[in-house]
Amino acid sequence: MENCPSHTFPQKESLEEHERRSQSGPGGNARPLHPDSQPAPANNSHQPSQSVVVTITDPRGLHLRSGRDVVRTASQFQARITAANLSRNSSAVDLKSILQLVQLQARQGHELQLAASGPDAEAAIEALRSLF
């Protein structure tokens, strides 16, 4: 496991990748990312948000079966949970959808930005990060 929690983020490379993405943006249905998001401010405490960058360690990458476990875990939480593949400059996808998850085409070594927002965001991120 080579996870790094959000408070150590932004890492230099990932931030640069994010900035490139923001400038050139894939457009279309791309959703905004907040890779540098910090714990929610007080005026938004009913919708806490949390994010983490995880590195794919499986030599086969993020495949169908490991994706199944991610979706099963994500589905246990109310929070809206997304993932973006920082290594491919992808836009964020819904982590509760197996077909969107495999769209990330995440290979070993790729960095994924997981982001959750909702009442149980923190618990969701904690549970999910252990799966990568």
Partner: protein, 136 residues
């Protein structure tokens, strides 16, 4: 927990798709297959009676979702539903989802205990989920 039926012209394809679906579902999801013609396992085609047996194999009160490949799979599945008693027929649903993607998604969500209409809706969302999106 709903049941799933995989319908294909090819018995081998039906078996393979079922294999994928079983891997995505928990142990509690009943998944059956109806592929090829009854008299000759190698012959390509779909058969309403074979589909009917597959429905009965996984029948449960929560309902049964049928996933078909193309063309006459749909017709044969319709005929199979017409042969069911009304009480069972109204708990069966033909999905518009693509076979492989739909079976993977439906199996996973059936395993999460989601109801028939919800499972079908997420499976049919596969129609608008390209494989290669979001990279670039």
């Amino acid at each position: 927990m709903i049941g799933l039926v995989i319908v294909s012209h090819s018995a081998k394809l039906a078996e393979g798709v079922r294999e994928l679906a079983v891997q995505m579902a928990g142990d509690e999801v009943g998944i059956s297959q109806a592929g090829g013609l009854p008299d000759d396992a190698q012959a390509l085609g779909t058969d309403a009676f074979k589909i009917l047996s597959a429905i009965e194999e996984v029948w449960c009160e929560d309902g049964v979702l049928l996933l078909m490949d193309v063309g006459s799979s749909v017709m044969s599945a319709e005929i199979a539903l017409e042969m069911l008693p009304e009480q069972q027929r109204r708990k069966c649903l033909l999905s518009n989802a693509p076979l492989v993607e739909g079976a993977i998604v439906a199996a996973l969500h059936a395993g999460l205990g989601e109801p028939l209409q919800t499972v079908n809706a997420v499976a049919e969302a596969a129609l608008s989920t390209p494989k290669l999106a979001n990279t670039g």
